[in-house]
Symmetry: C2
Subunit: 423 residues, 2 copies
């Protein structure tokens, strides 16, 4: 007997780690699937900070979604923006004006930066989530160096003010950004800019907690702080941002002139809860059941950074790439099982480990059974991240770039672009 | 005896091929030099069309000027825009508000696209001169494919209108763009977009003359036309653009719907003639003497695409990269000779040859003593262009990219970015 409802496709919103894992599994099973994303490319976000700090080109860490899905003819790729979901009608509404019917829905629309109760800060302290974000940050960092270089003699005493870079947030992204900026602005710049010495460059990493990298055990937090100090990064713990204005940041009662301030202090989920009319936690993440579906709608799954999921032990699933991939894969398997009339086991997050890199050749890594810091952790970090990249070509190019940088200390993509509309 | 005037630096405006060649020679001689450019990078423009057609990343063909000049401590690099030249006061005026005194001046500020008497066409048919231009063209090409893919069934008959790409100008840039677009939109796209077949993609190359590549002998023009036809490019000779509007181009009396129109039909020099108060030809190029200096000002040189120079035989020096490099080097040598009290020999252009590539593996080349087409010309073209790139790293990356594309037929940088402010 024909089930007309079964002829409708699975619709996946978002081609990040979660959406891509789901699309691959559904495509491998030959299930008709539509994968929607605002961008035409999947982005390997864990390395985006290296695009922002001139180490990699955007194309090195991004792959066209259509090219990734070439071998899976049951998956259609659609570049469009979702503006709403009509759950009763089983429709996704698109910015282009069209609608898309679905049998099952996987919402994997990710997260964006959260500025707490200060949305106006976004203009003064950008975060990096997209390639365009990263290219703009790269432009700001390199322009700050160009401007400091051309200061007239009488302004040179204030050069440190023109060369103060602040990163807000001491998680992996903040730690990696701060380390990479220190290398770019202190080590690499010294060779290109005759008037800039590393003594006049200041890189400040601010976090409200009492240690960096809270997902890692305290000894590794301490190792990361030491490695950052070795690169000349000033770490300010127990410090809260109280104000932001162009060229200036307030940390507690302290006002600091800063040429560039970057935000890596937390995210808020995409408006999926609003679209779905579903319950959300304080960060806007949709509360899902043990199978990652909405409690009242077993055909609608929410995965990745958009979901507030807990494991069978009650522990929250973290907002990291490996968790997103696992959740996407689980949702796809659950749909395949449901269509076959099989039961769906609850989602169980397998923690693969946490790591962060600091600069050119140091890192910290916690695999549970093994804790590493320094050079061995960095080699592990390189291996894991190269492995995670989509496609042989990206692995080759990024690997070659890292080797080049390791040998020459030189960043590969120090280009100032996207200057339209600037003074 | 001290010559205070001799303490002033040589100022070079523009770090293209001409400016860079001059700065290298002056730096090697230890002469104090200031090299000014609006960008922070030197761009290998002959390969810019490959960035626009998603084959290369911007960083592959651009190198920071400061990094190039590292080994030449007498050369200062300044990222700024020139807004005027005060010849009597021996000053260059900068957009940042400062001025820069010079003993000798080398103007190498290049050229931009010329739209004859129709400046409003620039909005509808962009040319590519900068990285930002190329990234925007890449976005437009890839978005046209995405849009054509999502046409509803009833619109599909008009898909050819949504997939008509027009290139205006049959010189090397136009020929290379048309070939690369045909490969991207017909060959590579077919594999990524289920609804796009090469039959519905139309690439038109328009030229007002009676053959392509007028700098090459007629048999090579014919070979290029055949190679373009083999890629499915429709070549329209003796055809003049009479009108341009969004999505539409008038060629003679014929109106064509076109999703993307690109301009490669001639350039006009930068406003150097205006800055200098010097005589210019119809294309705005400054008329220079046999030593490349202004006839009335032997310390002011104009080189590259900004100059209207003739050789001792009266032949015009062409607006190509090799000529620009030779002119820049000549100006530097002339300044070194003048400072040493030696006479300056007239500039003599040594023609190295002309070539253009068509698609993934064909080219035409004329070295004077040797004329090649097809695969051997393409290998020569690759060698010459790799050789011309600045720095070992760029050569390696671009060479690896070409090899990859040759083996896989796949473009490496199919990213849609810079979409801010779009609908």
């Amino acid at each position: 007997m024909a089930h007309p409802q079964q002829q409708l496709p699975v619709v996946i919103i978002g081609a990040g780690f979660a959406g891509l894992a789901a699309a691959r599994a559904l495509g491998a099973a030959g299930i008709a699937t539509v994968l929607i994303d605002r961008q035409n490319h999947h982005l390997f976000q864990p390395l985006l900070y290296q695009v922002a700090t001139a180490g990699l080109s955007a194309a090195d860490i991004a792959a066209p979604i259509r090219t990734i899905m070439r071998g899976r003819p049951s998956v259609s790729v659609l570049m469009d923006e979702v503006v709403g979901i009509d759950r009763p009608a089983r429709l996704v509404r698109l910015a282009s004006g069209g609608t898309l019917p679905f049998a099952e829905l996987i919402v994997a629309s990710g997260a964006r930066h959260a500025y707490f109760r200060n949305p106006e800060w976004a203009a003064h302290a950008p975060g990096i989530k997209t390639i365009d974000d990263a290219i703009r940050v790269r432009r700001d960092l390199l322009l700050a160096l160009e401007r400091a270089e051309t200061l007239r003699a009488e302004q040179r005493e204030t050069r440190a003010e023109h060369l103060t870079f602040v990163v807000v947030g001491g998680g992996p992204t903040g730690v990696e950004m701060a380390g990479a900026i220190a290398e770019l602005a202190r080590h690499s710049a010294e060779r290109d800019f005759p008037h800039i010495t590393r003594a006049c460059v200041r890189v400040v990493l601010v976090d409200s907690g009492d240690r960096l990298l809270k997902a890692l055990p305290p000894p590794l937090s301490a190792a990361a702080a030491r490695a950052l100090a070795g690169l000349g990064v000033e770490v300010r713990l127990n410090a809260r941002v109280t104000g932001l204005a162009p060229g200036r940041i307030m940390i507690g009662d302290d006002s600091l002139a800063a040429c560039v301030t970057l935000w890596a202090a937390g995210v808020v989920a995409s408006p999926a809860a609003l679209w779905l009319g579903a319950a959300a936690d304080a960060s806007g993440r949709v509360r899902v059941g043990p199978d990652l579906a909405l409690p009242d709608d077993p055909a609608v799954y929410v995965v990745g950074d958009t979901a507030a999921a807990t494991g069978p032990d009650g522990a929250a699933v973290p907002g990291v790439a490996t968790a997103a991939s696992q959740m996407g894969l689980h949702a796809a398997k659950a749909i395949i099982a449901r269509r076959a009339g099989r039961a769906v086991p609850p989602f169980r997050y397998r923690h693969a480990g946490s790591m962060a890199t600091i600069g050119r050749s140091r890192a910290v890594a916690d695999l549970g059974w093994l804790r590493l810091s320094g050079h061995p952790a960095w080699l592990l970090w390189c291996t894991v991240h190269l492995w995670g990249l989509v496609g042989f070509r990206s692995r080759l190019v990024v690997g070659a770039n890292w080797l080049w940088r390791y040998l020459t200390f030189d960043a590969a993509a120090k280009l100032i672009t996207q200057r339209d509309g600037m003074g």
